[in-house]
Amino acid sequence: MNTGEKPTAAKALMLLPALIVLGLFFTSVILLFSNAFVDRGGFSLKYFEQILSRPDYHVVFYRTVLTSIVVALLAVALAYPIALVLWRAEKNRNMLLIVVLVPWLVSLVVRTYGWIILLGPKGFLNAFLGWTGIIDTPLKLMFNDTGIVIGLTHVLIPFAVISILASLLSIEENLEEASRVLGASRLQTFRTIVLPLSLPGVFTSLMVIYLACVGAIVTPLLLGGITQKFVGSQIYQEVMATFNMSKAAAWSICLLTLSFVSLVVLKLIERRALRGQE
């Protein structure tokens, strides 16, 4: 945008902090990546070969992608009705939004420990179900993929609520009434007008949540079992346990590539779904 003002030294100075941050960011990323290609002082693809050839590592990738897809779909499915309620509640919308966002006031680690208390073998939920006699043996709700899905979905739902709500709020006033007057029931109106027009928010949520899941560390570490590794927790382990920075860097590059490919696929799906919408 051309505001017609001349660039001044003062303005250049104001850009400086941003430049420093960006500079540090790219330097660190480049250093990290270059690590991945170096072994004993020379260029090597050894770490990539290690990662890509081991079947147990393939499982880590599959699990990460599959779990992320499940979490993204589940979170959006659960968030959509919440967003609808907020959209309808004109008077109390801000208050309800705060309720949705309250979990974010508690640190991720604390929240995840909260889930351990609820979901553990001797946790609240199993104790309650055992007491009522519905189950004899405790349900395995954590230290497996179920635990990871529950934990991640809970953390990420507010993202979906916010972006779906934003989409709903951008729907022009009276569109629903116009549809009703033209003979559509409430359900038909939702299907043909509201849902299609809120899809941009749905796709944004899917994308944000999927990407957040693929890189998740804390939740898989705490709620997943020792064998339920995510790419994120795998990297964490390489750095913190085996101190193999080069391998961690190679993992990161693989993760980044995976995210990028997923993003492209999702964008293609979105374009098909939103064909005709500006």
């Binding site: 022009e172 006033e173 009276n174 007057v181 003979g183 559509a184 007008i193 027009l197 005709g276």
Partner: protein, 384 residues
């Protein structure tokens, strides 16, 4: 066999509003409104913003339910009938076109919901695109249309279903004057062709008088007057209607005597008028009243000309003249009160600012009303 409900058969397209009230909490936006809208008429709900006209329209559409009272369409009680089952179409102020559909898809929407055959849908959509003058634009996206074109899509989308009633909520208010005039004629033309009942909401009195067969003047949730544009202009039943429609000289005053003639003392002098000019009040001596006179009823008397029989006259001084083509507006000072007269320019003679003359008006052309209540005065931004 006769059913009691069918003995009073009503024409398709008629609306009967029976003592309808609508309140939000303590605020009553409509109170005991009763109105009969005949089939095939072009009726306008006219009033300042907040008068309840849009609320009445939304009640007819079924978006909201009346707090009390009943609405019948075609003689059928609509209380339990949801919007989508009512035989109505509606054009919204913001048009409410579906942005993810093309022009043709917008127009086809209602037909698809009725599960009409594909060939019929295509044929009717094509016909209505023609009718509203959008030929060749069927594949356009809504965002690619101009304001006037969007208006026409909104109209076609409703009319293609051939509703017996079309509700229009200030659909022209966002357009510039030129386009607005053009679409007013288009609307009237379409209404005449289709004989659909049009219920049109506007706050623009000029638009209302141009476009409609019948006008309902509303204010503060009450119907003030119902009538043809001529009736409303020529014979307003209260001061609100008189002020709201057209221009009027307003002379607040007091009744000195009230019998077969009314003697009204105003700032412009005391006038004797027949008792029949009082509207919406029982005149009694001592009442505060407002005398109203349309500017075109005032004649400037040439030189020593005498007022004719039945005319009331007064001394005046010309303050200013303004020629607007065939008509001239003359600003007058009548005993310290400012009044406006409108004369045919060619009959004005040598009237010039500063000149002293006599003015006259037919005694029965004036109207005498009770002053506005405080709440009605607020509609004009006045303090009573």
């Amino acid at each position: 066999m006769t059913h009691p409900a069918t003995t009073q058969a009503a024409a398709i397209g008629s609306i009967d509003i029976e003592k309808v009230s609508k309140s939000y909490g303590d605020a009553e936006v409509l109170s005991e409104v009763s109105l009969s809208i005949p089939a095939g008429s072009f009726l306008t709900l006219l009033g300042p913003s907040g008068c309840g006209k849009t609320t009445l329209l939304r009640l007819i559409a079924g978006f909201i339910d009346p707090t009390r009272g009943r609405i019948r369409i075609d003689g059928r009680d609509m209380t339990q009938v949801p919007t989508q089952k009512r035989p109505i179409g509606m054009v919204f102020q913001n048009l409410a076109l579906f942005p993810h559909f093309s022009v043709a898809e917008n127009i086809a929407y209602g037909l698809k919901l009725q599960r009409r055959p594909q060939t019929e849908i295509a044929e009717r959509v094509g016909r209505f695109i023609q009718l509203v003058g959008l030929a060749g634009l069927g594949d356009r996206r809504i965002a690619q249309l101009s304001g006037g074109q969007k208006q026409r899509v909104a109209l076609a989308r409703s009319l293609v279903l051939e509703p017996s009633i079309l509700l229009l909520d200030e659909p022209l208010s966002a357009l510039d004057l030129q386009l607005r005039k053009q679409l007013q004629f288009a609307l009237k033309d379409i209404q005449r062709q289709l004989r659909t009942t049009f219920v049109f909401v506007t706050h623009d009195q000029e638009e209302a008088t141009m476009i409609s067969d019948r006008i309902v003047v509303m204010s503060n949730g009450h119907v003030q007057q119902v009538g043809s544009p001529q009736e409303i202009y020529a014979d307003p039943q209260n001061l609100f209607v008189s002020k709201f429609i057209g221009e009027v000289n307003e002379l607040p005053g007091r009744l000195r005597a009230a019998g077969s003639t009314l003697a009204i003392e105003t700032g412009a002098g005391t006038f004797e008028l027949p008792a029949a000019v009082a509207r919406g009040m029982n005149p009694a001596a001592g009442d505060n009243v407002v005398m109203c006179l349309r500017p075109e009823k005032i004649t400037l008397l040439d030189g020593g000309a005498q007022p004719g029989p039945g005319m009331v006259s007064a001394e005046a001084r010309i303050l200013d003249t303004l020629v607007i083509g065939p008509l001239t507006r003359v600003t007058l000072d009548v005993a310290g009160t400012r009044m406006t007269a409108v004369q045919m320019t060619d009959r004005l003679g040598a009237a010039a600012p500063g000149e002293r003359i006599r003015i006259a008006f037919p005694a029965d052309a004036a109207r005498v009303f009770a002053p506005l209540t405080a709440s009605l005065a607020r509609a004009f931004g006045e303090h009573a």
